[in-house]
């Protein structure tokens, strides 16, 4: 369907963090607008709304995706994971703990996007080098931290996941 043939509001089915939602969305909405303004999942941030900053990064079938430039229809039938779905019921993701421990979040506005990019990296590479971490995070702008503590956090989380130990314990050893 071409965009001008779409109804003003569409009923779509969207799978977010394992939950299936049937929702009405304005058809011009991006995935980010749908997450934030229809589902109330404001963890994914709107930094620029034009694909420049990475603050809106979510996982789409496990791959990092800029939700601010993705028409919501593109997400139908796929698994969307947002920062709200990164932790599991047993506790935070190793990346979240690690970022706390290294102090890698300052104002925290870039943090959800950075965590999602880092999670996508660790999904495919369990022991990334600093160079690989930089590469994976190069689409996520952060104005506060200078990135150093974020690299440290990703390394720490990777090690914790490999050794199946909590990051705090890895840090102490």
């Amino acid at each position: 369907m071409r965009c001008w043939e779409r109804p003003l509001i569409e009923i779509i089915r969207l799978s977010v963090n394992g939950d299936s939602h049937e929702i009405g969305v304005p058809s011009h909405y991006t995935l980010l607008e749908t997450l934030r303004y229809v589902l109330g999942l404001t963890g994914s941030k709107q930094g620029c709304d034009k694909g420049d900053c990475g603050a809106c990064t979510v996982l789409l079938d496990g791959l990092p995706t800029l939700s601010c430039i993705l028409p919501v229809q593109e997400a139908i039938g796929r698994q969307v994971t947002t920062i709200e779905g990164l932790a599991d019921p047993d506790g935070p993701h190793a990346l979240q703990d690690a970022l706390d421990l290294t102090g890698g979040a300052q104002c925290g506005f870039c943090t959800p996007g950075i965590l999602m990019s880092a999670a996508a990296l660790l999904n495919v590479n369990s022991s990334p080098t600093r160079q690989e971490i930089r590469e994976a995070l190069s689409g996520n702008l952060c104005r506060c931290t200078g990135y150093t503590k974020i690299y440290e956090a990703v390394e720490l989380a990777a090690r914790a996941l490999r050794e199946q130990r909590p990051p705090a314990e890895v840090l102490r050893s």
Binding site: Y37, Q106, C107, G108, L115, N140, R143, Y147, K149
Partner: protein, 763 residues
């Protein structure tokens, strides 16, 4: 130095004397530790609620119509078409009752209005709309019919000074022209062995915090509540109250989580007042979130500077004279452009003259940007110092060590402490300076070099802050403070101060902050003052709680207060620790249920000034074929007094240096000065801030603590701004060391690097 806050400077001389005599800390048990933030989980889980994330029931969305011309006069304005658009609930213009609000003050007098028919830059506010959705608001703003008389504009600072330039304000474009100094520079130059002169240029930079600029305004009768992404709720409250002619008590400003500001969110912005007016007109809450593009255009920048610097030195490394002429423009309104401070203060020099020129241009107004004026001044002064050192064949570190000033020469005030010597020497040691300098610089197309620069920050802080600490019957604590946490870790550091004094674990301290309705006045989080102003107030409040607890325990234990000690959340007689009572077992506390301690920041020490110092070292690689500069390594040695929390300390330093890489290598607002006068790179694609790949993997932070017992009761000095001051200059000096070429215009883009190399080859 003028620090450009947009509200009247409070009077720091009229503070009450300290209520208690507080001793400096000796060994600390909590303060200084690398502890994770008290709100860390909120920040990593997506649950921290920023103003941009908030929505109120029945809320409308606002959008602002901005002048598309660099200089114009509104001759006709018709809102009819916009009013009739779907979802539109209000359109306001200069003619709307209550909207005639004076704006952009010079001294006491306004130079413009909230909506001014004389538009002085492409972005000036013309009208605003409130509608049911953001899209409807934007479309309606575009549908407002405006006719402009387009006027000639000027954007070049030097041209703006000439009499032929179009006048931006009545009375011409010169905003300030001041000369100051000491000694006799001519005699100084006559006595020098080497005199160098150079003109430097620094770019206009944009703050671009990750959270854009956003406000939600809501009225309850005559009372206004504003949720607003800012750096200091009390300043915003005061100015909002003044603009709307309301008593302070009718304006409540709240800002809990906020996504960065770097100076741009210190003052009251037009969009906040516009949201309040639209909310009043519609009797519904109104949210205005500026677009990313707007954030590049109309909410501040670091003014570009042209700095002509002449310096004289003796062969033995003694500075004899410094003479500098500064030219800068804070844009179309009085906003602050230049800083001559480092030339006047950083190095011991008997003969100094600085001339400071500030002009109006048809461009977006500047605002305080992380150490206003300082990294620009360091760019010039520290490159000059490097050039002088080369000329007299002296190591740049040694040269600086020879010229340290032990007092503030501007007003002959001694420092409470100065660790600049250690910053230079310990920093050099950590960097491996001498060895790195001696290493070959490479012969092929990739050259390596090292450079360094020093700096200091000028603002001792506004010492008024009142904090309340409440201790509840179960020994848990509420910390009530007005300070904002703009990402620096304020909440964490202040909770650590409470934990230090009261022995309460961090997770039993609840923090209420940055809300003018529920917390007490504190200065804004700018000027690197938050810790050194608010932490002593927190400490005083906690000590006051302790005093009251000791009194309660004295009654219970039937011992005089002097015989009791407070330790790990228990009170005991010093000679009988077995009689210890836990706080929860204090009968007097159970009776009252709460102990309230009020703490105030003490005044600054008399006759002395507390300022932070820094030295940074950089190693770079320059590809002389492509002009690409890569920063390989950075070391930062900072005397910011006591380290309150090692993690947040390092973060400030690394973040400040990353911004310095931006100033040194990539960041520059570009105006289309020949044709439209608009910002052409108003987005993160074309305006390049450093990414993960631009920041070196190898960064080291070397804290220098001079154990200052006079600056304040915590021994901490400012850090956020000093961290940003020397970086760009250190990089420029490293580029010179690598290539033998000085790039005097920042940022060192590939184009500038290549032109400088070509110039040396004589092309």
């Amino acid at each position: 130095m003028k620090y450009y806050l947009e509200w009247p400077e409070p009077d720091p001389t009229n503070l009450p004397p300290p209520a208690q005599d507080i001793e400096p800390w000796g060994e600390t048990r909590v303060v200084g530790k690398p502890l994770p933030r008290v709100d860390a989980y909120e920040r990593v889980s997506g649950t921290a609620l920023y103003t941009l994330d908030m929505a109120l029931p029945d809320m409308l969305h606002g959008a602002i119509l901005r002048c598309p011309h660099a200089h114009a006069r509104v001759t006709r304005l018709d809102t009819g078409r916009a009013q009739a658009m779907p979802g539109v609930r209000a359109v306001i213009t200069a003619a709307t009752p209550g909207a005639a609000i004076p704006w952009y003050f010079r001294g006491q007098g306004p130079t413009s209005m909230l909506f001014d028919e004389h538009c002085r830059y492409a972005g000036d506010e013309v009208a605003a709309v409130a509608a049911e959705t953001p899209h409807q608001a934007i479309l309606a703003a575009r549908a407002i019919d405006v006719e402009y008389e387009v006027l000639p504009f000027v954007q070049d600072d030097a041209v703006a000074l000439t009499p032929e330039a179009p006048a931006i304000h009545e009375g011409g474009n010169i905003l300030g022209q001041e000369t100051s100094g000491r000694g006799d520079v001519e005699a100084g130059f006559a006595g020098a062995d080497v005199v160098l002169e150079q003109t430097y240029h620094t770019p206009c930079e944009i703050h671009t915090p990750m959270e854009t600029f956003v406000t939600i305004a809501r009225w309850d009768g005559n009372r206004l509540t504003v949720w607003d992404s800012n750096q200091g709720v009390f300043g915003i409250q005061a100015n909002l109250a003044r603009a709307l002619r309301l008593p302070l008590t009718s304006v409540r400003v709240i800002c809990n989580y906020m996504g960065g500001g770097f100076g741009s969110k210190l003052g009251l912005s037009k969009y906040t007042v516009i949201a309040a007016l639209l909310a009043r007109t519609t009797a519904r809450p109104v949210k205005i979130a500026l677009t990313r593009e707007e954030s590049f255009i109309c909410v501040g920048n670091r003014a570009a500077n042209t700095i002509k610097l002449k310096a004289g030195v003796k062969r033995d490394g003694t500075l004899t004279a410094l003479d500098a002429v500064f030219l800068g423009s804070g844009g179309a309104y009085p906003a602050g452009a230049t800083s001559t401070y480092l030339v006047q203060a950083l190095y011991l020099c008997p003969n100094v003259r600085v001339e400071d020129n500030e002009v109006y241009t048809n461009a977006g107004p500047s605002r305080a940007f992380r150490a206003p004026g300082m990294p620009n001044c360091a760019w010039a002064l520290e490159q000059m110092m490097d050039a002088l050192a080369t000329e007299i064949d002296m190591d740049p570190v040694e040269f600086r060590l020879k010229n340290i000033a032990t007092f503030l020469q501007i007003n002959d005030t001694p420092y409470t402490s100065i660790g600049l010597r250690e910053c230079l020497s310990d920093g050099a040691k950590a960097f491996g300076w001498s060895e790195a300098r001696a290493r070959p610089r490479g012969r092929g197309h990739v050259r390596r070099g090292v450079g360094m620069a020093a700096g200091m920050w000028a603002y001792p802080g506004d010492p008024r802050a009142t904090v309340i600490v409440k201790l509840f019957a179960d020994g848990s604590v509420n910390l009530n403070m007005g300070a904002s946490d703009i990402g620096t870790g304020t909440k964490t550091v202040m909770a650590m101060v409470v934990a230090e004094e009261l022995g309460v674990p961090l997770d039993r301290i609840q923090i209420e902050h940055a809300d003018t309705g529920t917390t007490q006045n504190a200065p804004s989080s700018g000027g690197s003052q938050t810790v050194l102003v608010s932490a002593p107030a927190v400490r005083a409040a906690a000590i006051e709680v302790k005093r009251q607890l000791l009194e309660l325990a004295a009654a219970q234990l039937e011992r005089p207060v002097e015989q009791l000690v407070f330790q790990d959340g228990e009170i005991m007689p010093a000679d009988a620790p077995d009689q210890a009572v836990a706080l929860a077992d204090l009968r007097g506390l159970r009776g009252r249920q709460v102990i309230v301690g009020v703490g105030r920041r003490h005044p600054h020490p008399e006759g002395k000034i507390a300022l932070p110092f820094a030295a940074q070292f950089a190693e770079v690689e320059v590809n002389i074929l492509t002009g690409e500069v890569r920063v390989l390594r950075l070391v930062a040695a900072h005397d910011s007094g006591r380290v309150m929390n090692k993690l947040t300390y390092e973060n400030q330093v690394f973040g400040g240096m990353a911004m310095g890489i931006g100033l040194g290598l990539t960041e520059e607002r570009i105006l289309d000065s020949r044709q439209t006068g608009k910002v052409v790179n108003a987005n993160w694609h074309d305006y390049k801030i450093p990414t993960a790949k631009d920041v070196p993997i190898d960064q080291t932070c070397v804290p220098i603590d001079p154990h200052d017992t006079e600056c304040n009761t915590t021994g901490a000095k400012g850090l956020g701004e000093p961290a940003h001051i020397p970086t760009a200059a250190a990089i420029a000096n490293a580029v010179y060391h690598a290539t033998g070429v000085r790039v005097t215009d920042a940022p060192i883009t590939r184009g500038r690097m290549l032109s400088a190399l070509a110039e040396r080859r004589g092309e």
